[in-house]
């Protein structure tokens, strides 16, 4: 009777290191997920929130430029430089946030540009691609962000023209949920299988076998073996 109780106690102890390992792994997963979810601001970057006058000037509606069009030929004569070729507000609506500039603009541009796929170079984000179209897309991204468009609006703007293809990260809607949930489900299933095996071995251990039989020394180490037996006694 006493023997059986002792075994039971020991058996429950057996899995605790494994549980510790699993816990540590889960914590690591969680910690990094958190670290990734909240992009860490680079140290020492002053965050500018005040709208910059210079940037605001770029927000010129296209209608103004097209105002003096000769409607008969569809051609206009223009000598003035730096005109906006098209009005994005017509396509995605007015900016939903305040204009930004400086380092904040640069870091947000870079972050957003690494989430969009370069259309000519396959697989690379536009942030990394040296191709002309990718450069133009990055500068369009910067331009929209500067005028106060939100990340979502900018992504929508590109998706409108290029389709979901342009997003390097699939959306979390509909069938795309598969790509997000299936790996997690697989991981949980695997963990469950291990846990089940653990339970069944514990049951087997309870039903008679000596669970803590040391079965093989670590690295042919008589010293360790001696320590181990001393600890045991």
């Amino acid at each position: 009777m006493r023997r059986a109780a002792g075994l039971g106690a020991r058996a429950s102890r057996i899995e605790s290191p494994l549980r510790g390992v699993l816990l540590a792994a889960a914590l690591a997963v969680l910690a990094t997920a958190l670290a990734q979810a909240q992009p860490v601001e680079p140290p020492g970057v002053p965050v500018e929130t005040a709208p910059s006058a210079g940037e605001g000037a770029r927000d010129r509606p296209a209608e103004a430029a097209g105002g003096d069009a000769d409607s008969g030929t569809g051609r206009v004569s223009r000598a003035q430089d730096d005109f906006a070729p098209l009005d994005e507000a017509e396509l995605v609506g007015p900016p939903a946030g305040p204009p930004i500039a400086g380092e904040e603009l640069e870091s947000r541009t870079r972050a957003l540009a690494s989430r969009m796929r370069c259309p000519v170079c396959q697989g690379l984000p536009i942030a990394d691609s040296p191709s002309a179209s990718a450069l133009a897309m990055v500068s369009q991204t910067r331009d929209l962000l500067a005028r106060g468009y939100t990340e979502k609006q900018v992504l929508d703007y590109f998706v409108r023209a290029y389709g979901e293809f342009v997003l390097l990260e699939p959306t979390t809607k509909g069938f795309n949920l598969v790509v997000w949930l299936l790996p997690v489900a697989g991981l949980l299933l695997g963990a469950a299988l291990i846990a089940r095996r653990l339970r069944s071995t514990r049951r087997a251990a309870r039903s008679g076998a000596d669970p803590s039989r040391p079965d093989g020394d670590d690295d042919l180490d008589p010293y360790l073996e001696r320590v181990r037996s001393e600890i045991g006694s």
């Binding site: 097209g66 569809g74 004569s77 098209l86 396509l91 179209s133 133009a136 023209a161 389709g163």
Partner: protein, 173 residues
């Protein structure tokens, strides 16, 4: 002989969809990407050419437009160029033929190109690439067929061939 069921079940759950979907994958060319703009209004824009002229796309409404994105350095553009020259002549007055060349193209290069191969319409310079982005241009050349009410009805990625061009133009009119 005892038959263990687990491998059969797992194999069927994983294997059958895998093989079926991969086989279905043969029906799609990974390089063909359908434009989400079909049936939507064409983004309007204002662009200048190298001679000081400019176009306001919105003012073209009322007549169909063939909007061709090309570049002087692009080989397939050379191939489709004569077809466009011919079509622009045939449909003069009925359809606007508008060309857009990319940021990195220059007045010289475009001039040389059209001197050699003929000119089918104005070539507007997309100086900061924004118009190409608004239309979702992947690889040059690309051609958008815009109906007279301003909706994009068809897009051809890659060089045009005679049949596609004829059919698309007829659909426009």
């Amino acid at each position: 002989m005892a038959i263990h069921r687990t491998p059969l079940v797992v194999g069927a759950i994983v294997g059958i969809p895998l093989i079926v979907f991969l086989a279905l994958g043969f029906r799609h060319d990974p390089n063909v990407i359908e434009s989400p703009l079909l049936g939507k209004p064409a983004p309007s824009f204002v662009l200048r050419d190298f001679d000081g002229g400019a176009v306001d796309f919105a003012s073209l409404r009322g007549q169909p437009v063939v909007l061709n994105f090309w570049a002087s350095w692009c080989q397939p553009c050379v191939a489709e160029h004569p077809l466009l020259v011919e079509a622009a002549r045939r449909y003069a007055g009925e359809v606007h033929f508008i060309g857009v060349v990319p940021t990195e193209d220059t007045a010289d290069a475009v001039e040389r190109f059209t001197r050699h191969l003929g000119k089918w319409g104005p070539a507007y310079h997309d100086a900061d690439g924004k118009v190409s982005i608004a239309y979702g241009v992947f690889k040059l050349p690309e051609t958008y067929f815009v109906a007279s009410d301003g909706t994009i009805v068809h897009k051809v990625a890659g060089p045009l061939d005679r049949r596609t061009l004829e059919q698309s133009l007829e659909a426009l009119l």
